[in-house]
Symmetry: C2
Subunit: 388 residues, 2 copies
Amino acid sequence: MSEYIEHDARGISVGLVEKKTYTFAEPPHEMQLESGARLGPITLAYETYGELNPLKNNAVLVLHALTGDSHAAGYYADSDQKPGWWDIMIGPGKGIDTEKFFVICSNIIGSCMGSTGPCTINPRTVEPYGLDYPVVTIGDMVTAQKALIDHLGIEKLMCVVGGSIGGMQVLEWCARYPQVVVSAIPLASTTRHSALAIAFNEVARQAIMADPNWNKGNYHKDAKPETGLAVARMIGHITYLSDEAMRLKFGRRLQDKSDFSFNFDADFQVESYLRYQGKKFVERFDANSFLYITKAADYYDFEQLHGGGSAVKAFSKTRAKFLVISFTSDWLYPTYQSREIVKALKKNGLDVSFCEIEADWGHDAFLLPNERLSAMIRGFLERVYHEC
Amino acid sequence: MSEYIEHDARGISVGLVEKKTYTFAEPPHEMQLESGARLGPITLAYETYGELNPLKNNAVLVLHALTGDSHAAGYYADSDQKPGWWDIMIGPGKGIDTEKFFVICSNIIGSCMGSTGPCTINPRTVEPYGLDYPVVTIGDMVTAQKALIDHLGIEKLMCVVGGSIGGMQVLEWCARYPQVVVSAIPLASTTRHSALAIAFNEVARQAIMADPNWNKGNYHKDAKPETGLAVARMIGHITYLSDEAMRLKFGRRLQDKSDFSFNFDADFQVESYLRYQGKKFVERFDANSFLYITKAADYYDFEQLHGGGSAVKAFSKTRAKFLVISFTSDWLYPTYQSREIVKALKKNGLDVSFCEIEADWGHDAFLLPNERLSAMIRGFLERVYHEC
């Protein structure tokens, strides 16, 4: 943390960071999953920024979205100096101030970014798990995170914060470990996927499974299902942006051409953008992980799991303070879904702040620089810290 | 037309109908396309319902959407008695009353439903065109329709009506043949695709082209790109419905199961629905046609083609009366896009009625039974007929 690197207009960063790992649930003590299956050993990749204070009451757990990882802030020594995915929010003096708080971010199980997932070697077969990897749930991801928090000797989390399916994990933490969570910030999130969100995920999964290279998940020795995964990512990218975001970003502008190609090349900039995003994604992400994580997100139903169908009941055990944030142009998890969370929290008499932020960038807005968002999170965390 | 078949609650039908064809542009008189390429001979599949009156002033041209065909109403003698795609609207006493009007519907060029498209035999090679088929535009489709109208001896179209990309053809008719079109009804349509609409089409095309069976469009002797086309159709289906439509139709209901499968089967009804729609579609539609028609729709830019970027200027030649209709939950061609059409028409001092219909069913709403829609079209056509 001693070495700060200037990071353009976004201010200073936490500097050089390192990926760490924690392994637990060694056989015969495998973790019991929600499906009834067992999984172990489990490794979690994680990073921390800032220092845990002696009272251990300044820990903030950051929960990442679908394709995120444990690298939430700062830089790796050997990398091309692209900072962590939420570097605009996490750092000295930033929304989540690493001069005050101890920030933890771990890669979810089922992913391919260092935590145990379908591309991890299955110790029984000494081959990658592939589809032998059990279907994990949002609850299973949180159970694994709790093991890490215990390992770090932390009894209370001053805050759990995350966007999108990171927000689902926030809700799950509140219901599952009400005695641990002091405050919670679900961003651009929902208690459960709408049919529309499930539909998008299902089409993306079908695109992967339609790729002959997918080979029922056994592609680790051969060509990977890159075309299927690229199409899946392209579908995702459409859902992360909004009609307005795409209009502002691309409109009908053509790709370095003054006229149409009259063939099936990419004519429009939005086409090139999507093709590029698809292509770039397959270099860093695993197709099976995409299947597992989207399925976990689709299965998640906070009301059903913790309240017999009632969100009010599902929040009845938590005493956390809440900051709920949605974005006007997010049509994957629209504001009405955040309002339902707020309504259920208020019916429980909980301390809840809600803000719908005007933003053109759709669901992705929570990942983009936004002074208002940073200020709101900064203010909330300071209040919580002083009150706890 | 003498034989009426009772068609459940929707009233009587035009009865048994037949698909006809008209062939023109025989070499060396091929049709000049917008791209500069030439195409011929061209066959159009078409159907007619009702009778052309002696004054020949009661003709209504119906223009179909992406995967539609010439079979807009009635039944085929040898079929399983599923009526034409707009049978709810076209028939005796219906919105487009076949006791008063002579209705024509032809399959667009580029399609695979009887008109010349990429799966037609190329007379030069005696093989299906495949990607040797030239990229056709909305304008080219309309030029071909004009040849059919001329062939039928019709000088004035009392009305041109169509939804979605059928609506684009309506606009194109108005700009290209202002002396022919007496009135026009663009439904759930737009003057040009937004970046979002292009993005959805591009991902669908990528899904087809990612299927190894697509084989650069040469799949007519071998296995067809069915998995790619199914994924493309699934993407389309999401855009035709709305968040609300999916919530009402599926919600999070499970498919004949009381619990999750914890594998990658279809757990939710919305997943089964999409898989079924994808599977059903590949039986009736050609993958290359899907590529060509979506490209034509993406290219279409009414403002640019006819007004140098101005919709007001693009409508300056037409004297048609307009009925413009949009649907509240249509997020593929949202109401604001219809409002832009209305605004440009009004600036030209034209006779225009506009209605945004409250409907939960998204873009597909124009194809579904809706008494208000039928009544509005019926009233508009009667007025136009009496005024012309």
